[in-house]
Symmetry: C2
Subunit: 513 residues, 2 copies
């Protein structure tokens, strides 16, 4: 993996709640991934009055942590020029921030860059728009110190604001260690709504809200667990207002120390999770949003993307879903020529079957098929035996930003069934919607035929000419040379096709003319 | 993956039951793996009288299959010089074998090499000794046409024989489509024992018998299933005489067409599996073996190893267990310097704790710890997040020749718990033995401390000096430079250590003197 083309960047996020060091490794333009991460719940913003100083004990803990991070970076061989320490609201607003920055420089040798409100909001925006399909809507980044909101139109940031509504602050201002009273929560929400009144654009930014930050991730994980859904992370999870409301009630009924035991909530976040839930409710209400779409990426990825995608301005992936599929394929050295050709053959058959009236044809289904085509062999990275199962595992576990959990599950199952087995969802069934069984059956059948046509991995079957007549689908193979292997291989898998499309399949050589 | 150093070899095994094409990819001296495989149940030996010709219909099917394989090899860009077609007993003994070989050459362009009995036995031996720890015992390779046995001493082949006791032949001679009678099975076993009487060395070849071939693999899978054991393949599975006896009875009670539905038995092998089971029983009896150790490797790997390990003579891995661990690590680009250092630190602590009387110290346990140390980060190849879980997945699914399923499970769980979580076996529990909970607790604790000492991945903690006094273990760190990160990181994981060894852990810097 340590090719010459690889580059490592460390981002240190000095958040109000948590300090986090993330190392990104990338081959620019090809793939990127997180390769290391350490975090420490420093709580630098705890006990800080508005406009007051960082508390001495907190500052000391923060400096100790930074010293340790700096040591980690040196020891890991990271070039100091590739380390990006950035500080957010708690430090930005502390009266002794200059002292802190100077001591961090002296003790740890780190040049901490204190982000302005606008910069902080912008990095959150970059993370959101680069990990979701958001084109029109809003981005929420809820931290320990502050809340950032950005209005997005045509994928561009239009307006933004930052409020002192972070979870640590709101907890200290409105809640105590006991179960929360209705009165406390009401006061908290009222304060948040009032503060948000100076962002009238929020209510007109459309239907979609994307949420970032540890609190949002934990709330999504808890809601996912309550709903009995299988979980492979919360990337793309859609948290509804109703589910959030139920979760808030559950958390409010518990004393603070017991909230950390709610499944999905991390222990170190247990005491501030309720304030976060209630604040999020207030934002949904103020903006008229029915849901919040969760992304696992955040400020750190924003800082990374700003460099990784430069000189693009703004630094955005042209198409997030495609980028994440390609990123996963490239990380695992998928044979892209073969994979692209399998996808192309499957899509060609898909379109011809739609044109022949065999099925309706659907853009979203088509897109899933294309993604599964590109990723069907990614499991080779684990082992040849059962590589179809390993493809499923890699897709589910690595996740695909831009796709919902249901879509990731569909792509994973399509890859799972590209070689053998009777398509089904198994433990993933709770994620699926009406019609998904048929989508999986169609896609798996096409992928399997396409894979067999490309069994020799040399693109010798250049294209297919598919015609539908009564109960029969005739699949003509346009090939450079002999099609005997391709035809033999594909015919062995005709059954799945015939079941999925309720048509007999005939495969024949076609003149290339 | 397609580095310049990589080399591909295709082996085509023209077996009496199945024709199988396997592509091996290797970076010589670094790693090897199967990267493609197709098979076809040709049954070329079916209906063949002793000394008679291959039946025309079978020959035609065989030639069609070879033509298709040859096409596959060309299309996949394999150099014809790297394709190795080898034929075994059915073809070797056919009266029209020269005609078959000539037609294969003409039609498919393949120069089929007909193996002598000795060569066939030798390739099976190479597969067995390169995928198990067998040093003294016997190797059994049960095919459709013949049975090969090799006596092994000091890992070297000493004597060998080949008998016309293959599963297709024995089925045709002794069984029909109905449930088998006791009389039929008795006659089959008596014939086998009688034939084996000309190998008196079998009964004196020691306690260990290693079994190869599809029939043995299927019997192992069926026994594994009957015992309710979790399965990640049958590599290293130990099939006892008792379990084999029960399985034989179950199979005998069914008509032939229903045997294919017994879990673990492949449909295309259902009609010959019973004859195989009974023949295997006869071998165990004749040789006085209580068990047969199963390996998934076979003739094909033998042919491959003969080249891959040349010029070593005989072409054997010096140490199979170590080779398979290293093979898996190398396939996934593990950072070997880091992984070796983690293993070394863990072993250093393990030994010092044994010297201090904290635990007994055990060679086998130590070896598991070393393997887990080398493989703990192999899951990086999947994703950074949860890479400990991915390490477990890769280890379980790729398998480790030379280790039993229980040992592979232990290595996988040690890797799983090198970062977080409370060690346990979960679904793997049925594989485990008394004391394995403690082995896992000790190993996971040491691996976790070692990993944290090497958190910066720069070997800055060069070694540990561990002393035991009353209820306290003092761990001195000998380091080049500052040990603050290492100590901080390791201290966060002291709890697991303290629980596993029932001692308090104190970590301190040590003079390098």
């Amino acid at each position: 993996m340590r090719a010459d083309a690889e580059r490592r960047t460390a981002v240190i996020d000095l958040g109000s709640n948590t300090f986090r060091l993330v190392v990104f490794t990338a081959e620019p333009g090809v793939w990127w991934r997180r390769t290391d991460e350490i975090y420490e719940p420093v709580r630098i913003g705890a006990g800080m009055a508005e406009g007051g100083p960082l508390k001495p004990k907190r500052m000391q803990r923060a400096l100790d942590t930074l010293e340790m991070y700096a040591h980690f970076c040196r020891a890991a061989g990271l070039d100091p020029a590739d380390v990006r320490p950035v500080a957010t609201s708690a430090i930005r607003e502390a009266s002794n921030r200059d002292e802190f920055v100077a001591r961090a420089r002296k003790l740890a040798g780190l040049k901490v860059r204190v982000l302005s409100r606008e910069e902080e909001a912008r990095y959150g925006y970059l993370a959101a728009v680069n990990s979701t399909t958001l084109d029109h809507g809003a981005v929420l980044d809820l931290g320990g110190g502050s809340l950032q909101l950005v209005r997005v139109d045509h994928r561009l940031a239009q307006e933004s604001g930052s409020w002192r509504l972070g979870t640590v602050r709101m907890t200290e201002a409105y809640l105590d260690d006991e179960p929360a009273t209705k009165k406390q929560l009401k006061a908290l929400r009222a304060h948040a709504r009032e503060a948000l009144a100076d962002a009238p654009w929020l209510a007109t930014s459309g239907d979609r809200l994307v949420g970032l930050g540890g609190t949002v991730r934990n709330l999504a994980a808890a809601a996912q667990h309550r709903a009995g859904l299988p979980s492979f992370g919360v990337q793309g999870f859609v948290l509804t207002r109703e589910a959030l409301g139920e979760l808030t009630s559950e958390l409010a009924a518990l004393p603070a120390r017991e909230r950390r035991a709610v499944p999905g909530v991390k222990p170190e976040r247990g005491d501030v999770i309720l304030a976060g839930a209630a604040t999020l409710e207030a934002v949904l209400e103020a903006g008229g949003f029915e849901t919040v779409e969760v992304t696992e990426e955040g400020l750190r990825e924003g800082v990374f993307f700003a460099e990784h995608l430069a000189p693009a301005d703004p630094p955005l992936f042209p198409a997030v879903r495609e980028a994440s599929v390609r990123n996963l394929a490239s990380q695992h050295q998928v044979d892209l020529i073969h994979a692209n050709h399998v996808a192309a053959l499957a899509l060609q058959m898909y379109d011809a079957l739609a044109a022949g009236g065999v099925h309706g044809g659907d853009t979203a289904e088509r897109e899933l098929l294309a993604a599964a085509g590109l990723l069907h062999d990614v499991g080779y990275a684990v082992d040849y035996d059962d590589h179809h199962r390993h493809s499923r595992y890699l897709i589910l576990n690595a996740g695909l930003p831009g796709w919902t959990p249901r879509e990731v599950a569909l792509i994973a199952q399509l890859a799972r069934y590209h070689r053998k087995g009777t398509p089904g969802f198994g433990e993933l069934a709770p994620l699926m919607e009406d019609g998904d069984d048929e989508r999986l059956a169609r896609g798996a059948a096409l992928l399997r035929i396409a894979e067999q046509l490309e069994r020799s991995r040399d693109q010798s079957v250049r294209e297919t000419r598919l015609t539908v007549q009564d109960g029969t689908v005739r699949l003509g193979l346009v090939a450079a040379g002999d099609v005997s292997v391709a035809r033999w291989a594909a015919e062995r898998h005709a059954e799945l096709f015939e079941a999925a499309f309720d048509r007999r399949l005939e495969i024949a050589a076609e003149d290339a003319g």
